[in-house]
């Protein structure tokens, strides 16, 4: 079969990224322009500024990706773009940009869900095998999904309140860590011990998660200690929080491994970059003789290569979008 090249675009948050991906598995070129330094000045992503920077940079990012690949837009078979979920203003820049490429070069347009993109980051270099349990963990999502084939999703469970990444960010803010909160908690936690007693989230037998209780108890603990004039041991609190937060994931994943007998596990989403979490899930998988696949670090955070990988099955199905495609801020995988 002829090789399929997809030019993919990702602008859902604060990274402007364009990739060219061959047959859904091989990254020919990937350019990521991050705005993290700009947003760090404001203590978090400012949506309006994120959108502005996408518009400023997107044609330059395209030029760089094409130069890296030694290709022209004419050479690709389709244009793919993240259309949901994410910051609406940011998504729209990528969507309109991709439509122009599709129009000018007369290439099919493929709309891709960002979360499915994170799952398909595992397809890069052919790492994903079905059936598989996928743990999608990010600033907006905490979902456990069973996949039996390409685009065959069954949601086993999801968060009942906050997403895990959201809890990391809020706890980081409460203990006074700068943006980005998640990586800073992880760094600090390495210097601490699990000494603070934090409540375990709901111990039921569903696959659902909960993070708001844990988050609130950290906030209350910090406030109470401050009122009593006690110093908080930030390292220990970061470590205690991270340990409890990850336990919530491994407990539910363990339940799924036991009940389904599935022997493949993937982790996707920004929080999957957390090394402690990776270690804990690896241990669990070893216990159940399951294979854990992790994308390379560069494909864990937002990038366009994963969008190209997720677009490939849609290309094969002929599942194409029109020029009236709109962006959506919210959406779920299934």
């Amino acid at each position: 079969m002829k090789d399929v090249y997809i030019l993919s675009v990702e602008t859902s948050c604060d990274e402007t990224s364009i990739a060219i991906v061959k047959n859904g598995t091989e990254v020919v070129a990937l350019t990521i322009l991050t705005q993290m330094d700009t947003h760090a000045n404001f203590g978090g992503v400012v949506p309006e500024i994120a959108s502005r920077m996408h518009t400023e940079n997107i044609t330059m990012v395209l030029e760089e990706a094409l130069n890296k690949a030694h290709m022209k837009v004419e050479d690709v078979d389709a244009i793919a773009v993240t259309y949901c979920p994410g910051l609406l203003g940011s998504l729209l820049v990528g969507v309109e940009f991709a439509k122009v490429l599709s129009y000018v070069y007369d290439k099919p347009l493929i709309k891709v869900n960002h979360l499915i993109g994170h799952i398909y980051a595992n397809k890069i270099d052919n790492k994903m095998e079905f059936p598989v349990l996928a743990l999608v963990i990010s600033g907006g999502h905490t979902e456990l999904i069973k996949m039996t084939g390409d685009y065959e999703f069954e949601k086993l469970g999801e968060t009942e309140d906050d997403a895990i990444g959201e809890a990391f960010d809020k706890v980081a803010r409460v203990i006074g860590l700068p943006y980005p909160g998640g990586p800073n908690i992880e760094k600090l936690a390495r210097e601490g011990n699990n000494t603070y007693k934090l409540p375990k989230p709901v111990m039921d037998d569903t696959y659902n998660f909960s993070y708001s209780g844990l988050k609130s108890s950290v906030i209350n603990l910090v406030n109470n200690e401050r009122q009593r004039g006690n110093e908080i041991r930030k390292e220990d609190l970061a470590c205690s929080f991270q340990t409890t937060a990850v336990e919530e994931l491994t407990r539910k994943l363990e339940l799924a491994l036991k009940n389904t007998g599935i022997k493949n596990v993937i982790i996707a989403g920004g929080v999957s970059a957390n090394k402690y979490l990776r270690g804990q899930i690896q241990e669990l998988c070893d216990k159940y003789d399951a294979k854990l696949n992790l994308p390379e670090f560069i494909y864990c955070t937002d990038n366009a290569a994963m969008i190209g990988a997720a677009a490939y099955p849609l290309y094969l199905k002929g599942d194409f979008a029109d020029l009236d495609l709109n962006a959506k801020s919210t959406s779920s995988i299934c």
Partner: protein
């Protein structure tokens, strides 16, 4: 043939001009989600034609509206390798009026964008955004033109006298401050 794109408010204006004449024009009023209609409208207006240059209204106005028009225009210019020029929404008003004192303005929900121009359409000072109450005071002292009918032939002719830009450098102007800038 020159393609003109204006999406700075809720209207979507796409025009194909040739030798001073408007060949094709689509003006869609009060489009709620303009991302759904801008590209389909451009496709309709262009039919199979390839424009020789692109003109885009780069603001000020609705942040998202301006951004979509500019993103589309700069990407068209970059990929088609055609010249691109910008004209501001307030220049469009100034060019469309015969009055000598050109203090032109248009409003959004919360206030007014204002520009002062000389008779050669050069901006005097800077663009300003006034809140509704500030504008009320301002308009007591100055004769502000707010009900100008846009003359697209003149607007395009004027835009074509402006400098060609590198598409990478074409960006919106926003004027109105956002919370983190205040």
């Amino acid at each position: 043939m020159n393609l003109f794109i204006d999406t700075h408010l809720n209207d979507v204006v796409i025009i194909l001009e040739e030798n001073g004449k408007i060949k094709k024009e689509k003006i869609l009023k009060d489009v709620p989600e303009n991302s759904k209609v801008i590209m389909p409208t451009i496709k309709k207006v262009l039919a199979k034609a390839v424009p020789n240059s692109i003109i885009v209204v780069n603001g000020p106005g609705s942040f998202t509206g301006v951004r979509l028009g500019v993103t589309i225009a700069k990407t068209l210019a970059f990929t088609m390798q055609k010249p691109i020029r910008t004209i501001t929404s307030l220049e469009c008003l100034a060019v469309s009026t015969e009055e000598d004192e050109k203090i032109v303005a248009f409003s959004d929900k919360n206030g007014y964008y204002i520009g002062i121009f000389d008779n050669e359409y050069n901006l005097v000072g800077n663009y300003e955004y006034l809140s509704n109450s500030e504008y009320e005071e301002y308009s007591k002292n100055y004769h502000v033109l707010t009900d100008i009918t846009l003359d697209y032939s003149k607007i395009i002719a004027y835009a074509l006298t402006k400098k060609e830009l590198n598409p990478h450098e074409v960006n919106p102007i926003y004027v109105k401050k956002i919370a983190v800038e205040k």
